[in-house]
Symmetry: C2
Subunit: 347 residues, 2 copies
DNA sequence: GTGAAAGCGCTAACAA
DNA sequence: TTGTTAGCGCTTTCAC
């Protein structure tokens, strides 16, 4: 038999007082409403004793607030995003907010649906890594005065709060590192995407090459293709551009595709590729040789994001000011990017 | 300015009809209530035109249903769980249910909190990979007539619906495979956990060894330890048990720890270890040599789980019957488990 | 200091 | 065939 859920009325009637009083006490307004300490304690005790919990749905209906923040990431199974999600959740929880998270899979249609679902549920705030093409929905959320924080990327043509990392600068440094290690023909493998973070990484790559008068090799992968197809695309690109001696991949999963592509390649007599990738990944540490990566400051990103939302949630005057944060990323040099001669010694 | 949200009243008044009529039409009861097709269409059109969406919160408060299913997995960033989550979500979505998911991190305290939060939100059903120690909470959900489906593991002392794989049989086969490849001293690295799936895997291991009169080497890792500590534990275990020639790890992440441990080891003159793991992982395919794994039938598991919940949700008479499903897993043989002599040829 | 009552937006029994 | 109305459980204004 389903336990009949207790309501505020049960508490009130059990103590022969009105539900108003109970409500005031429960909402910490006992002092303000000058309710006797005696009664306050009696109520609090009974509530604890019988395990009464206010019905959140009713509370939401009444107040219009849900104490829920929606977190939409590109892909929750990507370590970068799942780590950010975990940290954001931890912090939100401390402030009494719940996080409900979901993946857009970079699909604007799916993202739109999710935003709609969140709107239906009247969630209080939004944290989003937006796929291309949902500018209108984001703008509409902002126009409706919802706190919205973008992260990982943003729309250059939209005035929004966002937290990103310095994609340009950190890619520039990674590529420069490869050049310093003696690589001359460095391929940049990326997605065919105009998202800000990808554009910036590409820009950093091009600048580093230009500064050293080297020739760029850019391969853009269709981004709704299967993994297998992409691996094959990389392999055939490398086969065609046979002078390429190093590879930089623009995300961690492209990095894993790259590894797989290279494995399928016949590189006998050619030596192996210098390798580095944006975004760290478990695989990169374990691979032989371990792979150099630009690691994002997950902790700082999460912190910045959650602080922004909570600030806006707690003080709507801040909601008008647009705040943007750009954090530095860190280059973790591992064996894969060392010059070939060094490598032979190292391994 | 926040767009004032439309309510059912706005629709009704705009058409000069009562909100009841609108409600009936919106809930597909137009036919049943014999509302004229004309009016029905007028309402439907207006609703679409102005983009009216019923307030879910109010709907929930009234009906006591949320159309939300809670999915609590051990760790959403583990590929196995994130894949299951994605598939479950897809299927639920087709039936008009939303999934809200979260990770227990195998922490009973966190799991309890999450269950409480879900209860507060009155979600309709529960899908859970339970950590040890929340039997009472699960039982209480069931007593309160909520649909509850466990998966990946279950409590042997609790009569619950669950979907698991045949951990015993599939581990038995994997170990037998290692034996057939000529390995004689096979270590089994697992967590110090009494969860059903771990116990079964261990049992399969022991039986396979017993059938071949081989000596077991079981290493149990403390499961709230840091990764670094565990890696080190494995390394020192292997150093001590120097006769071990093959390793089977009981989960995919233990597998990655194992790899790291071996890399830190000095195995000169010893040849390398035969390797296999429960659960597949991206790393396993890419590693050199690629690592043999017992792959769980993610698709089938998801399908079975979601079917169970929806069945119960849609027909509460089924809620009483306890259903359990055990699916077979698949052994994917890769280079790491081949006999050493074969290997030298293969690679 | 405390309580009565309105109302958040919706569903559905009952009336007409 | 359609409308009136009573709540779902809560917050909060206003009255006493």
């Amino acid at each position: 038999m389903k336990k009949k859920k207790l309501s505020i009325r049960d508490i009130a009637s059990q103590l022969n007082i009105s539900i108003t009083t109970v409500s005031f006490i429960l909402n910490g307004k006992a002092k303000e409403k000058r309710i006797s300490e005696d009664l306050t304690n009696k109520v609090l005790n009974l509530v604890k004793e019988v395990g009464y919990k206010p019905n959140q749905i009713a509370q939401s209906l009444r107040t219009g607030k849900t104490k829920i923040i929606g977190l939409m990431v590109e892909d929750i199974s990507n370590v970068f995003f799942s780590n950010v999600a975990r940290l954001i959740e931890e912090n939100a929880h401390k402030k009494g907010y719940k996080i409900i998270y979901c993946s857009t899979e970079n699909n604007p249609e799916k993202a739109r649906e999710l935003i709609n679902m969140f709107r239906d549920w009247n969630i209080d705030g939004y944290i989003i890594t937006p796929p291309a093409g949902i500018e209108d929905e984001i703008q509409s959320l902002i126009s409706d005065n919802y706190p919205v924080i973008l992260f990982d990327r943003y729309y250059t043509n939209l005035k929004t709060n966002y937290v990103v990392i310095d994609n340009y600068e950190s890619t520039y440094r990674a590529i420069t590192h490869l050049i310093e290690q003696g690589y001359k023909d460095i391929a940049f493998i990326t997605l065919d995407s105009r998202q800000s973070q990808m554009e910036e990484r590409l820009r950093g790559y091009k600048k580093a090459l230009a500064d050293h008068k080297l020739k760029p090799y850019v391969k853009r992968l269709a981004f709704d293709e299967s993994k297998e197809k992409n691996v094959q695309q990389i392999a055939s690109y490398l086969k065609k551009q046979s002078e390429v001696d190093a590879i930089f991949t623009a995300t961690n999963y492209i990095g894993t595709w790259g590894i797989e592509a290279i494995q399928n390649l016949d590189t006998k007599g050619k030596g192996r590729y210098g390798l580095a990738s944006f975004d760290d990944h478990d695989i990169f540490k374990l691979y032989n040789p371990p792979i150099t990566a630009v690691a994002q400051p997950v902790e700082e990103i999460s912190q910045a994001v959650i602080k922004m939302v909570l600030d806006q949630l707690e003080d709507s005057s801040k909601a008008k000011a647009v705040e943007t944060i750009t954090l530095p990323a860190k280059l973790i040099v591992r064996g894969s990017s060392l010059s070939r001669t060094d490598l032979d010694v190292v391994i």
